[in-house]
């Protein structure tokens, strides 16, 4: 089978982002960039299926500028087979991302698309659901377990939802988005890194895809919220209970 995994280049989750002088975006210099953590989990899941189902190909897709090569190479070093980079200097809103991905999928024709549930920079949690709808495929988001049927024609997916765990069955092709508990991603091994250099990484300028990426959503302004002030330390449990009762009046 063929599995397509989406990969977004995002700042390392430990980074502190600063708003630029114009208040339109964040300062991109001097940041460490990584594979979106949820996409790493999606890659890992693809690789686990590949290890179980022989003849499986795992293809990575990213939309971004040239620098996103680095994140695709990371995924290839983990064990993915090849990668596609749709070159775009403009930031796309989630609907535009989904439209570009649909176009790539029309050529690649995967049986399964694995994505992260959310990109940790924009925290949108949208692209997977939108892509599934554009393709007319079923979706199973926030996955914590993925079981392929023996005939690989459907999958049972357990999802992290409010109040518990839900299990759905979706016929393939389908879009599945990864939550934190789906797996623990492997690190790229040294031989993996060496091999990744020779794997195919195809670049496609976004204009060649002929997709209308007119944004539906525009960022008007970006700002830093006011910081919560630290309070004070109390010396004992007794003092804590007293201040919560008498001062804060919350118990």
């Amino acid at each position: 089978m063929k599995i397509l995994v989406t990969v977004k280049r995002v700042p390392d989750p430990e980074s502190t982002l600063k708003v630029n002088a114009e208040g339109t975006g964040f300062v991109k210099d001097n940041l460490k960039w990584v594979v979106n953590p949820f996409d790493e989990i999606a890659i890992e899941e693809g690789l686990r299926i590949k290890e179980k189902v022989s003849g499986t190909e795992v293809v990575l897709v990213s939309i971004g500028d040239k620098a996103a090569q680095e994140q695709l190479r990371t995924g290839l070093a983990m064990g993915a087979d090849r990668a596609v980079l749709v070159l775009s200097d403009a930031e796309l809103d989630p609907l535009a991302v989904a439209k570009v991905l649909r176009k790539v999928i029309e050529t690649e024709k995967p049986d399964l698309v694995l994505m992260g549930k959310q990109a940790i920079d924009d925290d949108s949690n949208c692209a997977g659901q939108m892509l599934a709808e554009l393709l007319g495929w079923p979706q199973a988001t926030f996955a914590s377990e993925l079981k392929l049927a023996a005939d690989a024609k459907s999958a049972q997916v357990t999802r992290e939802v409010d109040g518990g765990l839900e299990t759905l069955e979706v016929p393939l092709p389908a879009v599945v988005t990864a939550d934190l508990r789906l797996n623990e991603p492997r690190y790229a091994s040294l031989p993996g890194i060496m091999k990744a250099r020779k794997k195919e990484l195809k670049e496609i300028p976004i204009a060649e895809l002929g997709v209308d990426t007119t944004p539906r959503v525009k960022t008007v302004k970006l700002a830093t919220p006011p910081k919560r002030q630290a309070g004070r330390k109390v010396e004992s449990v007794q003092e804590l209970v007293r201040v919560l009762h008498e001062e804060a009046k919350v118990i």
Binding site: V19, D123, Q129, A140, D179, P215, L222, R228
Partner: protein, 320 residues
Amino acid sequence: MGNVLLIAEHSHGKFPKTTLVGLTAAKELASKTGGTCIGLVLGQGVDALAGELAEYGVNVVAVDAAPLAHYVADAYTSAIAEIVAQKGVEVVVGTATAMGKDLLPRVAARLDAGIAPDITGIVDARTFQRPMWAGNLIATIAVESTPRVVSVRSTAFDAAAKGGAKGTVEKASPAVTGTTKFISFNETKSDRPVLTEASIVCSGGRGLKSGENFTTYLEPLCDALGAAMGASRAAVDAGFVPNDLQVGQTGKVVAPTLYVAVGISGAIQHLAGMKDSKVIVAINKDEEAPIFQVADYGLVADLFKAVPELTEEIKKLKHA
């Protein structure tokens, strides 16, 4: 002059607080578009729910169909899209619950609409505020399409109350299509308040060291306070507690009157889910732990000693 359609999520025959928060935002938006706010109830056997929603002063559309008995994204999207077209809807609103996050982007794609996910503020009928980067940036975004879709952060608005002239209830039977099959729901059983509704939340982190310690130390504290229990990602990943207790950037967002963080370091991803709480208490043995930078009251102590003492003191206070 377009209308605003609220997708009224329900569970166990009730509207949770999160839905009523969405209703407040939907009404506010309707006042900005100049249209009316319509509530949409989807499911099987939803007559009573539809009637109840009308008591909040909105007109209700009820869709009662067997394929909608359990929520699944594709079937719900098909039904919603038809209602949107019939009712001249300009804005589709829901709450950013697990269901809302799964459903609303799909609805937006069906409508070729822009979406404002997880909003915390309404500037005008198409401009919204939303947190990004674990709440460390606030974006003001303009959604330039009509219709458009909005999901509302459940801590950002008050819950709507019943009142006003009772709305009408109308039945609709849109076509329902989809290939997703609901198999099962393994519900976490608990007698404690729901995380997103509780006025007090006590959360435990890796510092608790085991699931048994959550039972021995944190649960009695929750019960003494009448609090909901929450957890950090590290505690959930380690299997100490179920996943739906995770508070944070990629878990639940809460803003109770009192939030007690026990054995939690205070990573930005955790703070993203609780820093709008009214009063924050932190108990941690490391006085340098970042959680103290947002805590109103910090207690530097070994939790295994401090938490049982705290539970006893609270019980004493309540019986005084």
